[in-house]
Symmetry: C2
Subunit: 342 residues, 2 copies
């Protein structure tokens, strides 16, 4: 079918929805949309992961509407998406939750995307931004070097939950492609790398290196690193992702999937020691420990870098916040929260 | 958890179920089970692809029970699997049907496996054989050389339906692995390559090279080959797969995924000319044509071979039927069918 010349939707003046809007990335995206002059932002979230505090600061804002709804209930999505110009769809299970409940993960990550696409079609939502993951490149020794958008999915030796999670994101992306081909649904897929930032939670396996390290240091203990500390992780700051979501809505691009990663990768040892330094305890150096076989781990093989050049080309986005800067903000937020709750 | 020393279930004397038992592979597997002395074989099939003629020869056989049921209806599976010793689960959408109805494909290929695993757990089915596919290695130029069991999933440039199909099989395999880890469900995954043989249908994109070629020759036309005819395909004869399903039940192995491919790969040009030769019209040589952009095609890049050595190690299986022999049987069956229906 013929497609429009531009799939751009302005954030300013538009009615937007963030599904999973009470999450880490969701709440930051809502803030970014409001800062860019959105007319209305609907937070659609089932609040199952306790996101209420993430959006408490928006209470009473006349431009914000909270809908406690479930993407597995299509009628709720259909009602909530009436008149919506663009959607950022973030609701998902990640690997740790997939391990506890694979059935729920498949429901949310696959059936959920199907329902969101149905709602987009039914209510003529102009653009969808779908949060995929660098998990589409998989796990283990095959994942190394430059991870650009055509790299295949490696899974040998990875835990079932991790492979299910990665495959669910591959499916979500392809459902978007299929909707574009079959009825012209404009969309941009953002392949998030591991997110960190203010409002950080404990549900992401890789981000545990930050929050568990910070917790250990607060207790005056040496933080732990699994293995020899040489494993690569590539994070991205939550505020950078919030910008990416808005830029993906506003970009003329459609039918494209791009990586959204931070300025550069880091090793687990460097990360843990950086957290110690920023916490004012550079003396508490990392202790190397053996893996706990009862816990799901996401191992990387060789050194890798998640290349975000295609995101610059497609939506004009580049990360702005270094790990040192972003971790400083995250730790300051955690300290403030701890004081507030003390 | 501790696992049994052997996951072998004898076919002889056992009560077995074939889900998708009225299909090409299903009907051959039922025949093989009966030949090996199964006590009872339950054919569980929704007959949505018109498989009735495939099992017409079994009518009146006291050892065979046909249950017209749907794997999406868990209560039907729970009722039908009571007292069953082992299941071969074959019901699936392939790429062409995924293109027409991705929602149905995800239902059958993902939710269906979940339901089958639930039924296995609930009724203590000792062993599950799950039909995966070489689609777990993906499509396009990345797929070349020896395809052994650790090769990653390539998808760049492939149609959404093909990627969805491949990802659905990856998920099905991982759901089996998860069930083994969480509650000791014994299983063997067989990664079928493209099946061909008696009772061949038109639903498999790669097997169209056989049946459409045969149809053209019957009309006295030159058969068509898309592209330059150098693409690799690796088929497997249906009777060899029926043996593999039985051997996977009987093998002590569990928690393993192996390729089941034919003796050797073939190019599309060789295949089409072999069909012409076996049809008695070697003069009707293949005509090379441009791809039809409206049809889903599964392209391969370089030459490849799907290596089946691991199947020999895990379940003692090797293919026995060459393409020349198997194609001869398939064409003879088609000729007999045409005469019967004339």
């Amino acid at each position: 079918m013929a497609h429009k010349a531009s799939a751009a939707v302005p954030v300013k003046g538009s009615k937007l929805m963030v599904i999973g809007g009470a999450s880490l990335v969701g709440s930051a995206t809502v803030d970014e949309m409001l800062a860019r002059g959105a007319e209305q932002v609907i937070i659609f979230d089932n609040l199952s992961f306790g996101g209420q505090p993430n959006i408490a600061h928006l209470e009473g804002n006349p431009k914000v509407k909270v809908v406690q709804g479930d993407i597995l209930k299509l009628h709720q999505l259909l009602a909530a998406t009436e008149g919506v110009d663009a959607i950022v769809h973030l609701a998902a299970y990640m690997t740790l939750n997939f391990d506890r409940d694979p059935w729920g993960g498949i429901d949310v990550n696959v059936r959920g995307v199907q329902n969101v696409l149905e709602a987009c079609r039914s209510n003529k939502v102009k653009k969808l931004v779908f949060s995929s993951s660098n998990a589409v490149y998989g796990y283990g020794p095959g994942v190394k070097g430059d991870l650009v958008e055509g790299v295949p999915f490696h899974s040998e030796g990875a835990p079932p939950a991790a492979i299910l999670y990665g495959a669910s994101k591959i499916m979500g992306e392809q459902l978007c492609r299929d909707a574009f081909r079959k009825h012209g649904q404009d969309y941009v897929v953002l392949r998030f790398s591991t997110v960190y930032g203010e409002r950080q939670h404990y549900r992401a396996a890789n981000a545990l290196y930050i929050v568990e390290t910070h917790d250990a240091i607060k207790r005056g203990e040496r933080p732990k690193v699994i293995g020899d500390g040489s494993e690569t992780k590539h994070f991205v700051y939550v505020g950078d992702l919030a910008r990416a979501c808005c830029m993906a809505i506003e970009a003329p691009s459609t039918d494209v999937a791009v990586n959204t990663s931070g300025p550069e990768p880091i090793t687990t040892l460097q990360l843990v020691n950086l957290v110690a330094e920023l916490s004012g305890r550079p003396d508490l150096q990392a202790e190397l420990v053996e893996p706990d076989p009862t816990k799901v781990r996401l191992t990387s093989g060789g050194a890798f870098e998640i290349v975000h050049k295609a995101a610059k080309d497609a939506i004009g986005w580049e990360p702005q916040v270094t790990m040192r800067e972003g971790l400083g903000r995250l730790l300051a937020w955690r300290d403030a929260e701890a004081k507030r709750n003390a």
